[in-house]
């Protein structure tokens, strides 16, 4: 019985250190970074309109679209499709997405579509798309917003995030930020 009591004591001592004090210390640290500790919210007219690193479900013609999401961009229960490359239903889904995309983006050729815009992300809330996936949507967005294509192209180029230090990772576009700057520029005009 005696060693058992020792172990129960050790359990509660380590629980206090690692389960309570450690999280408390990190929480105190995080008070120094209040914005990013809260997930970098983006405000519009004083209200939260999104989080910098969380994708949103854009579906209208006037907004750039993000990648397909297995959970419909539900940031309260994230998830991927968990479909294998060989699954028969999955390949039907891909075909459907390609057809949809071509239908709603007239003028885009199949060979111009990059795979990221028709495949679901891992988290279901991927905030980014590839640069190519943004470029092939310019025509549709410009038409829906009655803007010259050059104007929209300029906004896209401004929103390209280059690789870190020019060498790590790929160039990509944050869809929420792109659409926000699109919204603000459209008002100016």
């Amino acid at each position: 019985m005696k060693p058992f009591i020792k172990d129960i004591k050790l359990h509660f001592v380590t629980l206090l250190i690692f389960g309570i004090v450690f999280p408390l210390i990190i929480w105190l640290f995080s008070l120094g970074e209040p914005t990013s500790a809260f997930g970098n919210p983006i405000y519009k007219n004083g209200k939260i309109a999104g989080f910098e690193n969380l994708g949103q479900n854009f579906h209208s013609d006037g907004y750039f679209w993000g990648r397909p999401s297995a959970v419909n961009y539900n940031a309260a229960a994230t998830g991927g499709s968990n479909k294998s490359v060989s699954d028969s239903f999955y390949n039907a889904t891909i075909q459907e997405r390609i057809n949809d995309f071509l239908k709603r983006n007239p003028g885009v050729k199949k060979e111009e579509i990059p795979s990221d815009i028709i495949t679901a992300s891992g988290s279901g809330v991927d905030p980014h798309i590839s640069v190519q996936a943004a470029i092939i949507q310019i025509k549709r967005v410009a038409k829906a917003r009655h803007l010259p294509e050059m104007e929209v192209t300029k906004i896209v180029i401004e929103n390209i995030a280059p690789p870190l230090l020019g060498m790590f990772g790929t160039s990509k576009v944050n869809v929420l930020k792109l659409n926000l700057s699109l919204d603000s520029k459209t008002k100016e005009i």
């Binding site: 995080s30 919210p41 854009f58 795979s115």
Partner: protein, 564 residues
């Protein structure tokens, strides 16, 4: 392509530059030699004093094993009670998460106590904030410390002569936690915070997005969990999608920090082995064998992932970076594949992409990696597993040169080899019997709704789940509907067996070796650090895993690959 490779090289470089001195440091911590963290000593003495523990009291292998099992049993009971009452107590639970059902709580408690972190719940909907810190974070520290402590006991056994005593489990347990895990976790959490990882205890935020739809976002103390989750080869994330979630792995920098943390301690412990037994050449050999297999797997997984999905290639679409299903744009296929090999090598189990959606042979490589379960391996226990391979190799090598097999000057006899072989065989038995039973149940009742994929990949989903449970890895082909009685109970039991038997076995061997006298080496002795021994070692690893697992792998990933 170049941009991705340079990231992988950077991670590998930092890991290897940092692991060597860290390995030396851990060895000194084990030996009680002066180190820069000695200011912690009064604090540790206080812990021993409070609990009435005599940290200098040496115990034999049985005494140490009992201490480990008792302490872990208490952790288990604690976790189970908190999980089944989290909704009723409502403590630190702003999202109003309900209590867990007992089967899921059994699985979850077993999962975190065994350093597995297989998650049959989804973090943002399954656990209260209190459970996240008092069960998940707590157990991620102490289960990792338990693993490192048993490795220290093994090292004592290798060095001791004619005594049978292996030191004190509590001493190694406390020191591993306070001097290795705690400082590193503080550092990594701080870096993750600075790099943009959220950390708060806020209730879920509801907002109206640009399209005018209402959206709810789960918040939480992500930076607190993410550091120790990676460092302790735990892998259980705050969010359901683990390190694919932008709140758990925000950008390229956090990804690099996390991937380094996955590999750091497991690699360092290989060097600790060399420093502690004062046989650095042997450690270099072990390290080279592990790294060779690791690099081989990285090259394979990266190759298959960067080729893209062959069926999408047929449709004529562009796949400039590779297969993108289940991947995040900010990481891309290459960093996802590298992470996949890192996480399955080290028994970590966190993911930054969905392994279920990776190309067939990349998924097969991850399974093979977990089947070997000793390429670096989980903190502490990875080296225990590898030690068994070393022992069997030394035995076979000894027989080949016609001498009594010995290792580090100790005779290896039938008793040790029997234990080693039985423990090595446990892993394939658990995985293959489990997969056979689940496949049988699928056959008699195909409508049970377990599998999200048809055909060969459906079999792979079940094989992966059992492999992950038995290897104490914790990643999954997450399309498997695993939150039901069958999967919760079978994988729960498997995690417990797959954790404690491969600990008890090597400790028994260590106890037996510690009681032996050393025999002076002579000309005929097989040099354990030589090339010849390395070749035998690789041969043993390949033969053991190939013979046991290749039939199963052919039915799953290989058949799927050939069917494309």
């Amino acid at each position: 392509m170049f941009n991705d490779i340079i990231g992988v090289v950077l991670i590998l470089m930092v890991v290897h530059i940092a692991a060597y001195p860290l390995g030396n440091y851990i060895s000194r911590v084990f030996k009680g030699e002066p180190v820069f963290t000695d200011f912690m000593r009064p604090f540790e003495e206080k812990i021993y004093h409070l609990c009435g523990i005599d940290s200098r009291h040496e115990m034999d292998w049985k005494g140490n094993t009992k201490a480990l099992l008792r302490l872990n049993a208490i952790f288990f009971v604690w976790a189970f009670i908190i999980l089944v009452t989290q909704g009723a107590t409502g403590f630190l639970n702003p999202a109003n998460i309900v209590s867990m059902d007992p089967f899921l709580a059994f699985n979850t408690a077993a999962s975190f106590v065994t350093n597995t972190n297989l998650q049959h719940y989804s973090g943002e909907t399954g656990l209260s904030y209190f459970s996240q810190i008092a069960v998940v974070v707590f157990l991620q520290f102490v289960s990792a410390a338990s693993g490192i402590a048993v490795f220290a006991l093994l090292l004592v056994g290798l060095v001791k002569r004619q005594s049978g005593l292996l030191g004190n489990f509590y001493y190694f347990f406390v020191r591993s936690a306070t001097r290795v895990l705690l400082p590193l976790a503080l550092l990594v959490s701080l870096l993750l915070l600075l790099a943009g990882t959220p950390n708060n205890y806020s209730e879920p935020v509801s907002y109206i997005n640009l399209e005018g739809d209402t959206t709810v976002v789960a918040m939480g103390p992500s930076a607190t969990i993410t550091s120790i989750k990676q460092l302790g080869t735990n892998g259980g994330g705050f969010y359901g999608t683990n390190s694919a979630h932008p709140f758990e792995n925000a950008n390229y920098i956090t990804n690099v920090i996390e991937n380094i943390s996955i590999l750091l301690i497991p690699v360092a412990l290989v060097f600790t082995f060399g420093f502690y037994i004062n046989h650095r050449k042997l450690a270099v050999l072990v390290f080279s064998v592990m790294s060779m297999l690791f690099i081989f797997f990285v090259v394979g997984a990266v190759y298959f992932e960067s080729q893209g999905n062959p069926l999408i290639t047929k449709t004529g679409l562009m796949q400039p970076t590779g297969s993108m299903e289940g991947k995040e744009t900010r990481f891309g296929p290459m960093l996802s594949a590298f992470w996949g090999v890192s996480t399955t090598s080290t028994s970590n189990g966190s993911v930054n992409s969905m392994h279920d959606s990776q190309t067939p042979l990349a998924g097969g490589i991850y399974m093979l990696d977990m089947m070997i379960n000793a390429i670096y391996g989980g903190v502490g226990v990875g080296m225990l597993n590898f030690f068994l391979f070393i022992l069997v190799s030394a035995f076979i090598g000894g027989l080949m040169v016609g001498r009594t097999p010995e290792f580090l000057g100790k005779k290896i006899e039938a008793k040790e080899i029997k234990i080693a072989v039985l423990v090595i065989l446990l892993h394939p038995i658990l995985i293959l019997v489990g997969s056979a039973i689940s496949s049988h149940l699928m056959t008699i009742n195909p409508e049970n709704g377990w599998l999200s994929n048809d055909s060969y990949h459906g079999f792979s989903q079940m094989l992966y789940e059992f492999t992950s449970a038995s290897a104490n890895n914790g990643s999954g082909f997450e399309g498997l509907a695993d939150n039901n009685v069958f999967w919760n109970v079978t994988t729960g039991l498997m995690m417990l067996l797959g954790r404690y038997i491969p600990i008890i076995g090597p400790l028994a061997i260590a106890g037996s070796l510690a009681s032996k006298n050393s025999v002076p080496s002579s000309e005929g002795t097989l040099d354990a650090s030589g090339m010849a021994f390395g070749v035998i070692l690789i041969g043993v690893i390949i033969v053991v895993t190939a013979l046991s697992f290749f039939p199963a792998l052919s039915l799953g990933p290989v058949a799927e690959f050939l069917s494309l």
